[in-house]
């Protein structure tokens, strides 16, 4: 028995001693996904991390320019921007020729065939298929002529009938598609840039059946034969990727930053992409600082480890060549009231008092190391409708005024006010954020309790209106303020995205009028007005517009933080010389 022990311990030490040599011949990159993903079916890619993986293999008709800001769409599988009829209802798309699907046993002889108009129309129908319960259906719900009717009709069948014509989805020729909308939908092209509508091949869907989510067959820059649910995903360059080239222009100053050095090169630039699933923050941080991971998003307590008070990278990281990217995010955090709760519905002064008592300065310091910005209203900076000069009179710290308003609301010093429970996710930081909120509000006599939930439970409570308040962050699905204003639009109330169930008929009218307009100064003016009127009502206690923090190692080239990350990796590059040189430091 002793020898067995010695053998075991011995082999343990031996193998620990000889870890693997690093590879400096291939251009490979190591990324982190902090959450498990839900497979590779585009129509279910509702969370950021699943979208990121779907986006490596699949492509949509459009994509966001990797460097230009404000965000700009560029054709991807589509050849050009579509021609739109005068009434804004009929879109004609030309698709690129010579785009090949990845090789897969689903195709004849196992060789990927050319993508065509039928594939795109099939993809759209698939989103509407009632049997599939696509998470991306909301994007096209009630938008395309005849599609809802098709969906309803097929709900009763065992298998949806894809052959049945849909008025709004028409094939003109092999590379031309005409789509008819029910009403103007200016966000339509954004919807076609989201992973939900990335193009799939009918053969692959049918060949793999329910296992389709593990066999991604796209047209994208990288190939994955099978998703095996382990904790790393390894992608390889798609050797048959079409002629797609690195862009030659970006935002002003990008060329000086060296972001355009690869202009004109054929994409993708990397041979291999490895994604590691690392849930806990300690191993994530440590793996980056051992150079096992090349790019890392910094969150929570790691922020203070990364930057100093002047928001500069700390010298111990600088000396290793690590680079810091601080980018304002298109998002907002908030404490939402349930406006169906009579406590909040009529009582605007109570809501205002709560907003005034919230100590945002402390929150910014404790949770974001002062990298976040106090949100004045629903629309975050960077979107049309946001006005820098606008300051919400109730987004400031004023205990006296808060007390006064609370008394006017009928609860002097909080007397008579019941305890209020705020629901959140069961994560330590989420809990601490409510604890700080509670601490702030205690000063005016309001008692706040914490309710912790798993993410699905939280969604469930909000959907069923079983909450008094909840806190959440909302990130942009696409760069249009409609995506944020819609959070307060009455018809969107639970189970829709308006979890606060806020209703204001005047606001709703303006919303209806503005959101059918194309992106024009006129529309921006309307958004501004809505944004600023609603701010006074304090439908939520506004929190922050956060800043994204990313670290990359010196050998990672062409990195620029992008809100819509799913197509980013094809533009990244690795400087192997630098990597070899610097790796000694780790």
């Amino acid at each position: 028995m002793k020898t067995l022990m010695l053998l075991l311990v011995g082999s343990l030490i031996f193998t620990v001693g000889c870890s693997k040599e690093k590879n400096y011949a291939e251009r490979e990159i190591h990324l982190v996904s902090p959450e498990k993903i839900f497979g590779f079916d585009p129509i279910h890619a509702s969370d950021q991390y699943s979208s990121n993986e779907v986006g490596k293999v699949y492509e949509g008709l459009y994509e966001f320019h990797p460097f230009k800001r404000p965000y700009e769409l560029m054709p991807n599988l589509a050849d050009t921007l579509p021609t739109v009829s005068e009434d804004g209802l009929t879109y004609t798309f030309k698709l690129k020729k010579g785009v090949l699907f990845h090789d897969s046993p689903a195709f004849k002889d196992g060789i990927g065939r050319e993508m065509n108009a039928d594939d795109f129309l099939y993809t759209m129908r698939r989103l509407a298929d009632p049997k599939l319960q696509a998470k991306g259906w909301w994007l096209f719900d009630d938008k395309i002529m005849g599609l809802n009717e098709w969906r309803d009709k097929n709900a009763a069948l065992d298998v949806a009938n894809y052959e049945e014509p849909v008025e709004g989805l028409k094939k003109i020729d092999n590379n031309t598609v005409e789509i008819k909308l029910k009403r103007p939908y200016p966000q339509f092209l954004y919807a076609l840039a989201m992973p939900y509508s990335f193009v799939v091949a009918k053969e692959a869907v049918e060949h793999h059946g329910k296992e389709f989510l593990n066999y991604p067959v796209g047209t994208g820059p990288f190939i994955l034969n099978k998703f095996d649910q382990s904790n790393t995903i390894v992608y390889h360059r798609n050797p048959k990727f079409r002629e797609k080239f690195f862009p030659s222009e970006g935002e002003e100053g990008d060329d000086k930053l060296g972001l355009l050095a690869d202009a004109g090169k054929k994409l993708p630039l990397l041979d291999k992409v490895v994604v590691h699933f690392i849930i806990e923050s300690q191993p994530k941080w440590q793996n980056f600082h051992k150079a096992k991971v090349d790019i890392l998003e910094i969150k929570d307590a790691n922020i203070s480890q990364t930057i100093d008070e002047k928001r500069d990278l700390k010298p111990e990281h600088k000396s290793k060549g690590i680079r810091l990217f601080l980018t304002p995010q298109l998002d907002i955090t908030f404490f939402a009231f349930n406006h169906e709760d009579p406590l909040f519905k009529k009582n605007i002064k109570l809501r205002q008092a709560m907003s005034l008592a919230y100590n945002r300065a402390d929150a910014n310091k404790l949770f974001y190391e002062n990298t976040a910005y106090e949100a004045q209203s629903v629309i975050p900076p960077g979107l049309g409708g946001y006005r820098k000069e606008f300051k919400n009179p109730y987004v400031k710290y004023d205990i006296e005024l808060a007390k006064k308003l609370l008394a006017e609301a009928g609860y002097p010093d909080g007397k008579g006010l019941p305890d209020i429970t705020v629901q959140t996710r069961n994560e330590p930081v989420a809990r601490q954020q409510i604890e700080l909120f509670a601490k702030s509000l205690e000063k005016i006599g309001i008692k706040i309790k914490v309710g912790m939930n798993t993410w699905p439970e939280l969604i469930n409570k909000v959907t069923k209106k079983q909450h008094q308040m909840y806190t959440m962050a909302w990130g942009a699905d696409y760069p249009d303020a409609e995506n944020f204003l819609g959070l307060l639009y009455c018809p969107n109330q639970s189970p829709g995205s308006n979890g606060s169930n806020h209703c204001n008929p005047a606001f709703d009218e303006q919303f209806k009028a503005a959101t059918v307009l194309q992106d024009t100064p006129e529309r921006s003016a309307m958004y501004e007005k809505m944004n600023e009127t609603i701010a006074h009502e304090v439908p939520w206690v506004f929190g922050f517009n956060r800043t994204k923090l990313y670290l990359t190692h010196a050998w990672i080239k062409n990195y620029k933080t992008i809100e819509f990350q799913h197509s980013q990796v094809q533009y990244l590059n690795v400087d192997l010389e630098v990597k070899k040189e610097l790796s000694k430091k780790f």
């Binding site: 806990e280 923050s281 300690q282 941080w285 929570d300 307590a301 790691n302 203070s304 480890q305 404790l366 069961n426 994560e427 330590p428 930081v429 809990r431 601490q432 604890e435 700080l436 601490k439 309790k449 914490v450 309710g451 912790m452 939930n453 798993t454």
Partner: protein, 283 residues
Amino acid sequence: MKENSLWRDALRTLVRDKWTLFSLVIVVGYSLIALLSATGLIAADWAQEVGASNLPPSAEHIFGTDIFGRSVFMKVIRGTQIAMSVGLAASLIAIPIGVLLGALAGYFGGWVDDVITWLYTTFSSIPNIMLLISITMILGKGIFSVYAALGATSWVTLCRLIRGEVMKHKEREYVQAAGAIGGGHLRKLFIHILPNVMHIVIINTSLQFQVAIKSEVILSYLGLGVQGEPSWGTMIDDAKLELARGVWWQLAGATLAMFLIVLSFNLLGDALRDSLDPKLKGK
């Protein structure tokens, strides 16, 4: 009485051994702290800010302060209340169920035994952690779900042990004698047999207590436990992020507090078994 001297002997041995004495003192001390905290005499103001955010331990703040400048020491005290209450509640649920079912099964045998054996075999077939997770998940979060979950899992061992012990005693002379002079089943079981198997309850409880405390920490860490009150589990959960900032004292405080009480219950359980279990008597 023979049994009386067993307890007296046991007590004497327990006090003689200094490690056991130490554990006894710790257990009593923690219980007192929990009691005082529950009645609001101490640590009622744990949520008060006592200093700046994340101060390291010093003479003033012995375990330092947390992110909101609250005293970590006070939170540890408050957490003691939660931990002990979880142990207590689990025992209060487990002991009546376990003793009653175990005694009935052991005494009556036959189909009663079959049903009860089936019941505890079924419960013990589901690994504890899975049952704990399932119950707290379904009942919703909060301290009462934790009580219920721990109660539902911890009666099983006790029931099995009591059943075995009662079976043995049933055949003993004194029980037979009690039967001969006309004692009914209930009288035999509750007046004669049960007092003689009570040591099993004591030993088992002291060991289950620490299991309950450890489980609460894990459940709170998984976000299934206590809400709105500091518990050692949530403190450790916080600490996993704060370590990155170099804030180690919250982890240290909670771990130390938990370490002492779990250690004490373990030592005490061992000592109790050594001195109370007649099988090991005299060794």
